[in-house]
Symmetry: D2
Subunit: 376 residues, 4 copies
């Protein structure tokens, strides 16, 4: 019998996101599966399994020398909410079973936590019963569930004429500062969403070098959303930036976010940074888009763009200093499991997916999503 | 393709923040007042009016040549929830009446919206009835309500042994990259939280130059939180970063946020960026704190630190290009009202305040705030 | 300094209601005022102070020999969100100052709690700092804030062609089981919404008898909502019943609720209770409306009706047995303050108000409220 | 007057319940499965599959002549959040696959909706894509997911020394007005929680008679919760009644709820209904418990008890009048599928389960659930 008083308590209801189009993520990196429940999808949305599978495949490991060689077929399975390829209005549940895992190598992370991983704080937060195999709930693997949900959101956006794409802005020291449109990215981007051949070479060289040195490398991803009219979003705590950033920081390894010029704007004067209004093709636009398409938390009608900072993968093969939590002595750690020398390429579809979820959530709250999707 | 427009509905329930310690902001820049309701403050917290007033005074305009000369006494008034200087457990309501305003100069923003202000998207979002005098709900003035709420949160944190301070990391091109502790900032910082005399001179010169040129300048603010034990925060969407960033982007002019090294970490290898564990004074710490005190969304026990990018104030005296929404023709605009040449100094207490609100909300959800504050 | 660990905690964020049209109540019975923040009201709603005042006056004490003689002018004051009689889309804050109170007589409730009042459990929940003067947050007085919010909601419903009215179904043993329409109630009801002269006499006699005996009496109130089309509401936990009942039980003294036939339906066979469908005037209706206009949590298109059970006011002048919490001995209590011999008449506008808030919240979530109210 | 129709948007995020211990239900009556995600369960809770299975079996059909003969093994499967019989702190997902169904007989409900079922309003709300086979999301079958979640909640309550039990108070006209304790119910109750032999006979006779007449019968269920100390729950909208009632009305067929004496208290004077305080065994108790253990929305320390009204099952074999939605003509309907002549016995574990979920949610918010369950 537990004593009633003098207890600490936990409130860990933090696996859901969204007010109107809400996703609830579940599953663990090396448990049976990862999955998601999507509540709030209007009925009548036509969505084929292949469309979801296509998005999930984009973040699948093992499909390139640049990423982890963990083998996962990542086959999606729909448990509820879709019947004959149409959403019914009931919650949509999608799972992706885990196949390839070796729990033994993860046994020791509860004793000698990996530097810059969630191991140590997770142990302090959730105690000895926490599942940290492969990072458990803190693993990048749970983002597969975000991508499955994002596929539904993306389909809705397509029907509204909204498109989005993310691409690699930098890897390590190398940057591609060209501004691309969604169309350009879709047309010219390769599997890693790289468009500039010179930059592509540098990216690949940098990642493979890190891999050969049993090290890792970080980078930045820019996401562009086109087709959102002006005046979408909400005031104060409902700002587009608040909602996108809250979602992005659920992705492991993201350490910063900036909208439009972001940090660069802090170096400018107002007269340089302000975006003058103009009329173009009878519509109100801005001459520049330093604001990233957002003012006062609301859309201006210009493309929304923002950039995420992704740290180098903490999992590296090099020996690292850590602490043995039992002996409370310093020790060394060398990690042998499968891992990505650079997580940036695989994060691209995750950023696109969660952004899609956020945009659908915002537009639903703004009354812009049909109650029922009917064929026309 | 579905037609995008002609769907109508508004869901603007976005003036509240927090799950366990929830603030609800109300009021307008040039209405009667700004105010806040704080729901979830435990009873028995001793808080004197002066403590709240002190924080609110820190962001008050008109107290330096570096900031707006708008005259506001910013006198706080407690409407409910506190009796004889003790919280009762009922919602705490605090208001700050507006005194100095001239609605006439704001009439025209609905016709010729100011570049890089919320005027145009707010008009598109909320229609002709929206109150845009001085920015209405989109004005920096509403942050006074955040500061009033933050004073309560800060008092709670003090009782828990948690302290925090924000300071100016950069103004325009000038940076102060020294890492300060909360104690240093409190001891050595001047009214603007500037500590390095050389940097201070540059800051003042830069702001006054912008002012004399009827222009404005941006900058960066770093916030440090000390005293949070390891293992606080929540998984996935409950990450500390998700919650702090969601709050920060409710502050007008904030365009980016990074935790720890943030964007700089993207240039490093994992072996450089990872923070090795060590034992110091019998406690587990990290040798470096590139992570900003957060791993997997949870606190590591090291100080939490993050940096916000603040754009140059969009309100400038220089003539700017805009559009007349009635005639749909290009036109020029020259703004004459009171404004800040640099909002960075006044944002410091706002960042501290909302951070305090977020930390209290997190710790409440983690069961770390007493049910009742009793004297000992 | 509080010790960090081994603390209990409180999560009292329970003064708000609604997902899309959210009210946040604040204030105490014998503090400075009671008030409410309404978040989510679309801009452009025309609402005069008098319309709000009219509703608030309906529950004002001191206006009849049947109710409490507490003197309150209950003058409403709008602090934010309404400009020139039009909502702006910003949060609407309304306060009602308290005028008549005598804190001294309430001193003793923390020592000798009144039977069937919240005194004792509130003291156990919130500790010695809790404000229990006149019941504090547990007083019927806070429902004045519900009525102020309800006036806004009611105005919205009127624009949508939805009307509602509550009336007394029973007082003590006397029942008026006639089914009235909203039009009949509005046309024929007196100040207490009584329509049947015989029943009216019994009600008045019963209440005055209780008053003369320093006792109190309970009753039932039925509320009818007309004009909601079929197919409104939401599945599972979003049922109309879930949301109305959750709101109703925030009203002190309500002890039960039933929709349509409610408890009486438990005595019937399915073939008696089921409402057969028919076509009337080209529309699908049901021959009977035992369901109270709700099936599966969704509206059927028939009038929604439900009945609330209101216990006799616990405040009575008769001596009662209680316990002295200091001496832990039995003692007697005789209460002398102003009180209502029957709260039922004054609860009518409160039930109407919160029902209006709930219906607006439901319809907003269903996309049925215009984004902006524009004159036509 | 604003035109009512032609506004379009859906917000159907209504499949979750709870703030601190949140369940998200998914699945359909005749889809692949029903399931639930439980977010917020502390790590370290020992829970065996059999414990969950045991609760689910209690509401399983086909186990008595008194209930539906639908054949379902109702085998539970845990997808996430539990490892080696201990919760890990990650979301717990449990599914129950559907086995026995015949979609053909449900085809016609979209054309000729069944009286007093959700068919017609669900069609109006969600459109032609809605899954109404066996009621879809509106079926009693989804309550199996509530029971699975309730098994977890019940285990937590057991560790806190809190016990609860529901029993049949009435079937049709027959009542058992004896007040039972949880211990008595558990000790003496049969499979249907019937304790009084005379009442048992009447119940069985009444249900079998309804069955033989192809009709159905309703009843009432009382639920008792023992062991909750005084001062639990929250003010205003956080009242225990608000939260229990909101949960109960998610159960199909529940039409009313009353706490303690409820509707009967409306017939009493205050001096009769008030519960005098007394000291018994050194503890403060009330002589009577007409309040049902709740005052001001907070627990008094006495057992909490409430009663739910359950309408007769709308599915009956007798011919009924309905409307053909295509031809818009009146027609008759005779339903042939499996159904319960009385749903009351099978609702008992559902009421217990959702009540357990609510109580755990309340106690978590009150800081009474350990952060981690550790063996002692």
């Amino acid at each position: 019998m537990y004593k009633y008083h003098k207890k600490k308590k936990v409130c860990s209801v933090h696996n859901s996101f969204g007010n109107f189009f809400r996703i609830t993520s579940f599953g663990e990196s090396h448990g049976k599966m990862v999955g998601v429940v999507i509540d709030g999808c209007p009925p009548g949305l036509h969505i084929a399994n292949e469309e979801i599978q296509h998005e999930v495949d984009r973040r699948r490991p093992g499909n390139s020398e640049l990423v982890s060689d963990r083998r996962e077929s990542d086959h999606i399975e729909i448990l509820s909410g879709i019947e004959n390829k149409y959403s019914t209005g009931a919650p949509i549940t999608i799972i992706i079973k885990n196949e390839n895992f070796d729990p033994i190598i993860y046994e020791k992370v509860k004793i000698t936590p990996r530097p810059s991983h969630a191991d140590y704080p997770a142990l302090m937060r959730y105690g000895k019963y926490v599942d940290l195999k492969g990072g458990g709930r803190f693993s990048g693997r749970i983002t597969a569930s975000f991508v499955a949900a994002g596929a539904i959101a993306k389909k809705i956006l397509t029907l509204l004429g909204i498109s989005l794409a993310a691409y690699i802005r930098s890897i390590g020291p190398w940057e591609d500062n060209h501004e691309y449109t969604v169309a350009e990215i879709r047309k010219n981007g390769d599997a890693l969403r790289l468009m500039n051949p010179e930059f592509t070479d540098r990216v690949k060289t940098t990642i493979l070098k890190a891999k050969s040195e049993k090290d890792s490398v970080g980078g930045q991803v820019t996401c562009i959303v086109e087709g959102i009219p002006s005046g979408k979003g909400d005031m104060v705590f409902g700002s587009i930036e608040s909602r996108i950033s809250a979602a992005m920081f659920a992705i492991p390894s993201i350490r910063g976010i900036e909208f439009g010029l972001g940090f660069a704007s802090t170096k400018l004067n107002g007269s340089q940074n302000n975006d003058p209004y103009m009329i173009s093709e009878g519509k109100i636009q801005t001459k520049t888009n330093n604001a990233g398409g957002i003012l006062g938390g609301l859309s201006t009608g210009m493309p929304i763009w923002f950039t995420c900072a992704i740290k180098p993968t903490p999992t590296i093969g090099k020996p690292q200093e850590t602490v043995n939590l039992r002996s409370m002595k310093q020790t060394n750690l060398r990690f042998e499991g499968s891992h990505d020398p650079c997580i940036v390429p695989r994060i691209i579809p995750v950023i696109e997916s969660l952004t899609s979820v956020v945009i659908v959530d915002i537009l639903m709250g703004n009354g812009d999503i049909p109650q029922i999707f009917n064929k026309k």
